[in-house]
């Protein structure tokens, strides 16, 4: 497939609306637009100035079907860096679909997910972290995430990373100036100083890594599992969180036989909740299957909501639930909820039973739900991020992986400075730098050489 073929997609949300936008981009975008849109003043479309909306009539073959606006963006001055046409028609499923159909008939093919942004990156219009942030913008699931994405698309994370990378490059050039010019007296380069700067950088990379817990919690969501013996009100709790009747709530224990999944909002956090079949031994084969799935969901969880019936004392089944949590190694990630607090606000019997104090809640009335958010944050190690630092939250898994790599190489460099030698330390620092720059897709060696010359007085 020609990578520059023209693609099109509806760029406004699906469904009913006042207006809708169909975006066409690629080498034939303008020609294709010309086939479906005719200027109302009969001027040829090719003479339309860039980035200026003009009135057009949309046609399917010879048949006009809507009036609208058309804006042309000529390469490279468009979002994707290619010729782009934006066709604005009246909203509503029918008209929009018809326009898209006409565009396809005129030669465009459907755009893949994220294709506009991918093209923008390929054409050098966006840095990788900007591209990812735009992806985040489109997918933004809540306001916080949207703010972070907006800040990042403006380059806040890029700036932060550049600042770290720049200082690292500075450090590397010190090491190499030291190595390449051994006879120069470089009073400004010393191993303790190098070590100190490395420590600082490591700290900054570490806090970027730490921000990912929050970044992921607000963008992708936290894998959260509801566990508890049957009929403690897990499904009611899920419904309370989701705000709708999602799970089937009955009085019959074991009603939930499969893992139900739901994404719910808790403050600005997203929880990817799995409601599991009650964790109990059962003879019913269908229920047993459900129990097996529940166990594997538990093992993969990042947060566990263990639900107990606070209106009655803990029994053997509850003890079994506790045992399973312990065995899965998730005790530290578990929040113990004493449900039905509306019936019994404080049940002393759970004090000695649970490893940490339980949190009284009521799925029915909503009592205690506000404290749940704080509890989840604590379990995840996510502290609230101030507005000013929001742009420095790492949202993407790739960014996180690159930062973790950088962190590892920086620690190695520190170790090498202590035990081995500067040639190895320099190499570790270079690897840290290339991990960091991977985030923005750049490379570094020549820049280091330049840095050496601009900063150090070396030579014969």
């Amino acid at each position: 497939m020609n990578p520059f073929h023209t693609v099109a997609a509806i760029s406004t949300p699906y469904g009913k609306g006042g207006v809708a936008l169909v975006r066409v981009t690629g080498e034939d975008a303008i020609a294709i637009a010309q086939r479906v849109a005719e200027r109302q003043n009969s001027l040829p479309l090719s003479e339309t100035p860039s980035a200026k909306a003009v009135r057009v009539t949309f046609r399917d073959g010879d048949q006009p079907f809507d009036d609208g606006l058309l804006t042309l963006f000529r390469a490279p001055h468009s979002y994707t860096g290619e010729d782009t046409a934006e066709l604005c028609c009246h909203g509503g499923l029918f008209v929009t679909q018809k326009l898209l159909g006409a565009v396809f008939a005129a030669g465009a093919t459907p755009a893949g997910p994220g294709e506009f942004t991918r093209r923008a990156f390929r054409n050098g219009k966006l840095s990788l972290s900007q591209a990812e942030a735009i992806g985040g913008l489109i997918d933004a699931k809540n306001d916080r995430c949207l703010t972070v994405s907006l800040l990042q698309s403006k380059g806040a994370l890029s700036e932060k990373l550049s600042s770290v990378a720049e200082r690292l490059r500075f450090l590397i050039s010190s090491v190499y100036a030291f190595i390449d010019y051994p006879d120069e007296d470089m009073t400004d380069v010393s191993v303790p100083k190098l070590r100190q700067t490395l420590q600082t950088l490591l700290g900054e990379v570490q806090s970027l890594c730490d921000s990912y817990a929050y970044g992921r919690a607000i963008s992708e969501g936290v894998r959260t599992v509801l566990v508890g013996k049957p009929n403690t009100g897990k499904s009611a709790l899920l419904n309370r969180l989701a705000g709708e009747d999602r799970a089937i709530v009955t009085e019959i224990p074991g009603t939930t036989r499969d893992v139900l999944r739901e994404q719910v909002k808790l403050g600005d956090l997203l929880l990817n909740l799995s409601d599991t079949a009650g964790l109990r031994e059962s003879d019913d084969p269908v229920e047993r299957l459900g129990v097996g799935r529940s166990l594997s969901a538990l093992r993969e969880a990042e947060a566990v909501l263990a639900v107990f019936d606070g209106s009655s004392p803990p029994d053997g089944q509850d003890a079994e639930v506790l045992r399973q949590i312990r065995e899965s190694g998730k005790e530290k990630q578990t929040i113990f909820l004493l449900n039905k607090a509306d019936l019994c606000p404080a049940n002393g019997a759970y004090g000695p039973f649970l490893p940490v104090p339980g949190l009284p809640v009521s799925a029915k009335t909503g009592v205690g739900m506000d404290r749940l958010e704080q509890a989840v944050r604590e379990v995840l190690g996510v502290s609230p991020v101030g507005e000013e630092a929001l742009g420095e939250v790492v949202l993407g898994a790739r960014q996180y992986a690159a930062l973790m790599n950088a962190k590892r190489h920086l620690s190695d460099a520190l170790g090498a400075l202590d035990g081995f030698s500067q040639d190895v330390a320099g190499l570790d620092m270079e690897q840290a730098l290339s991990s960091l720059e991977e985030i923005d897709g750049r490379t570094a060696t020549e820049e280091i050489v330049n840095e050496i010359f601009s900063r150090f007085c070396v030579g014969k």
Binding site: G124, Y176, L427
Partner: protein
């Protein structure tokens, strides 16, 4: 003037500096009729700047050149005055050997060697023209009217092309050390379509040793156990160096006279190297630095001249004298040679391919300063590669291509031919991304096979290498297998170096891997340690100590190879690739990189361009297949 037809050659080498010598020796030793042209036979192998060979990165080049069968290392070993291993405390990858050498003895050694080589004629004559027909070189023409038909020509013109010397307000046409400049060749090269640029370099004053007060300077001795390039043969330091410093008074003199420097008055247009700036440049660019180091280096055993490293300058002579006399120990020194700056023509090396042949002129090669580099070692290494490839071309054999991943020589050639350079290029350890693999100690392991293949390394030398290589492998295996039993002396050794005692003993390899312990420490504890040559012991120690890092770099080399192997179709039209930025299209069209790896290193080609290119290549292959299918249908 009427031209006459002179002797027919396989290879004509133009210029007998460090590049020309290696090129000519390589071609002649590979059995080709070779002539080496020089402006003056008295300055074959001249060192117009530092009387030294090696240094950081440069030492690596000499070890590599030696492994390939070049001459520079042997010559330097023969005339060594002082040997120092630089960076001895900064890790084995950056250990760099630097030697002070007797520059007069060096010239004599090289001239003798050239004279004794079969198939090689030395010709004192100015080459004024290179004849090119149909994109192929046919020979060279001298100022005496001789036309020498040749299959290959290697240009090693150093700083001689259209050169001009500057000392303050005075300037005149001359090559280094006041040799005659080559004034006509540039024009001939331009006519052949070669793009020339103008570079600049400089050299410090030389003064009379008897007028220098060495007693107030710091003494810099050679290593207590001096070593040589590529051999374990014994060596002796003969003369020391000294260190002194500039001071505030020196800096004041320079600042007040800056307007009299052609560098600052705008008279010199050539681009100078950042890594060896003149003293005036250092003072202007680094005003905060209170003093600059000056090394006083001997020029030879039979001369009183000493070289003042660090005082390169283009200031007028009277200012030079003032500023030098303001330096401790040099107050009464007598000038013998004034510092000067020199401007010269050289080629833009992006016109060359990885064999150092002009991409558009078959048989025409360039090496050394002509290719925009600086330094004797850089020149010699390129001369060797250009010479070998010229000889291989004459023989109709495949070329010798050295990659970044296996040598500093390959790194340098890749840098200048792919990235290009806008100043005289110097090798540095920081230029290699694989420097833990490209060490001085394993140069033979990396490269001797190539030297053997092309015929520059003798069977005996190769056998000797194989024996040492076997010793190294067996010793590493032994250390990995054997265990050092617990003992009081072991515990003492460990605690002295800050490690916990080993009540159950310790694996011998593990012992050596500890950062603060050495192989010699181990041998001190062994009852019967093996007797191995120092170079083998060093390789054993380095390979054990850095095993993890070496493995990691080997992995990177594999990744690097994938991009290097991804070939760009030679007829690909970059202007037809949509999505490439204009700058990338132009650069790619101009340089025509053979591989995606090289394309990615061209300045102006962004990672986004590389991804576009990858897609386009896949697309290209796909179209080709389709066309092929269509043909099959016909």
């Amino acid at each position: 003037m009427t031209n006459y037809q002179a002797e027919t050659l396989d290879v004509a080498v133009v210029g007998a500096g460090h590049a020309g010598i290696e090129a000519a020796l390589a071609c002649a030793r590979m059995g080709l009729r070779t002539a080496l042209f020089t402006l003056t036979l008295d300055l074959v192998g001249n060192m117009p700047c530092n009387p030294s060979v090696g240094g950081t990165g440069k030492g690596h080049l000499v070890f590599e050149l030696d492994a390939l069968g070049g001459e520079m290392g042997k010559a330097a070993n023969a005339v060594m005055l002082q040997s120092r291993m630089l960076n001895a405390s900064k890790g084995p990858a950056v250990h760099s050997l630097r030697m002070q050498t007797d520059r007069v003895a060096y010239r004599a050694y090289m001239k003798r060697t050239l004279e004794q080589t079969a198939n090689l004629s030395l010709v004192q004559a100015e080459v004024v023209g290179v004849q090119v027909e149909n994109g192929k070189v046919c020979g060279v023409e001298t100022a005496f009217g001789g036309f020498y038909p040749a299959t290959c020509v290697v240009l090693c013109t150093g700083t001689s092309l259209q050169s001009r010397i500057f000392v303050g307000e005075s300037s005149y046409e001359a090559g280094a050390d006041n040799t005659v400049p080559a004034k006509r060749l540039s024009e001939s090269l331009r006519k052949a379509g070669i793009r020339l640029v103008r570079f600049k370099t400089g050299t410090p004053p030389r003064v009379h040793a008897d007028s220098v007060d060495f007693s107030v300077m710091e003494l810099q001795e050679g290593d207590p156990e001096p070593t040589l390039f590529g051999t374990d043969a014994p060596a002796v330091n003969r003369l020391p160096c000294y260190v002194t410093y500039t001071n505030e008074e020196t800096h004041r003199i320079i600042r007040e006279n800056l307007h009299r420097s052609p560098l600052y008055s705008g008279e010199i247009v050539g681009t100078g190297p950042r890594y060896c700036p003149s003293i005036e440049t250092k003072i202007m660019r680094f005003p905060d630095k209170e003093r600059h180091q000056i090394f006083v280096e001997p020029m030879g055993l039979d001369t009183k001249e000493v070289y003042l490293q660090g005082l390169s300058s283009s200031l007028p002579e009277d200012v030079q004298k003032q500023l030098v006399h303001s330096i401790r120990g040099l107050e009464h020194c007598v000038f013998m040679r004034t510092a000067y700056a020199i401007e010269y023509d050289c080629c833009d090396p992006t016109q060359l391919d990885a064999t150092l042949q002009f991409r558009t002129i078959r048989g025409l090669f360039g090496a050394g300063q002509f290719n925009g580099t600086s330094g004797y070692e850089e020149a010699a290494a390129q001369g060797l590669v250009a010479g070998i490839n010229a000889a291989l071309l004459c023989r109709g054999e495949p070329p010798l291509l050295l990659s970044r991943a296996e040598s500093y020589i390959g790194t340098m050639i890749d840098d200048i031919t792919v990235k290009g350079t806008d100043e005289p290029y110097r090798i540095m350890t920081s230029r290699s991304e694989y420097r833990l693999l490209l060490r001085q100690d394993n140069a033979k392991e990396r490269l001797i096979g190539y030297g053997k293949r092309v015929g520059l390394v003798s069977d005996e030398a190769y056998q000797a290498f194989l024996i040492e290589d076997g010793q190294k492998k067996r010793e590493i295996e032994r250390l990995q297998k054997e265990h050092l039993p617990p003992s009081a002396s072991l515990d003492e050794m460990l605690t002295v170096h800050g490690y916990a005692p080993a009540p159950t003993g310790i694996g011998k390899a593990e012992f050596v891997r500890r950062p603060f312990l050495t192989l010699d420490d181990l041998y001190a504890l062994e009852e019967q340690p093996p007797t191995l040559p120092p170079s083998v012991r060093k390789r054993v120690e380095v390979e054990l100590k850095y095993e993890g890092y070496i493995k990691r770099q080997a992995e990177e080399v594999k990744r690097f190879a994938r991009m290097e192997e991804k070939r760009i179709p030679p007829d690909m039209d970059f202007h037809a690739v949509g999505g490439l930025r204009l700058e990338a299209r132009q650069k790619l069209t101009e340089r025509r990189p053979e591989t995606v790896g090289k394309a990615s290193r061209i300045p102006g080609v962004s990672p986004a361009d590389v991804s576009v290119l990858l897609v386009a290549i896949a697309q290209y292959g796909h179209d080709r297949e389709k066309k092929g299918e269509n043909h099959a249908d016909d």
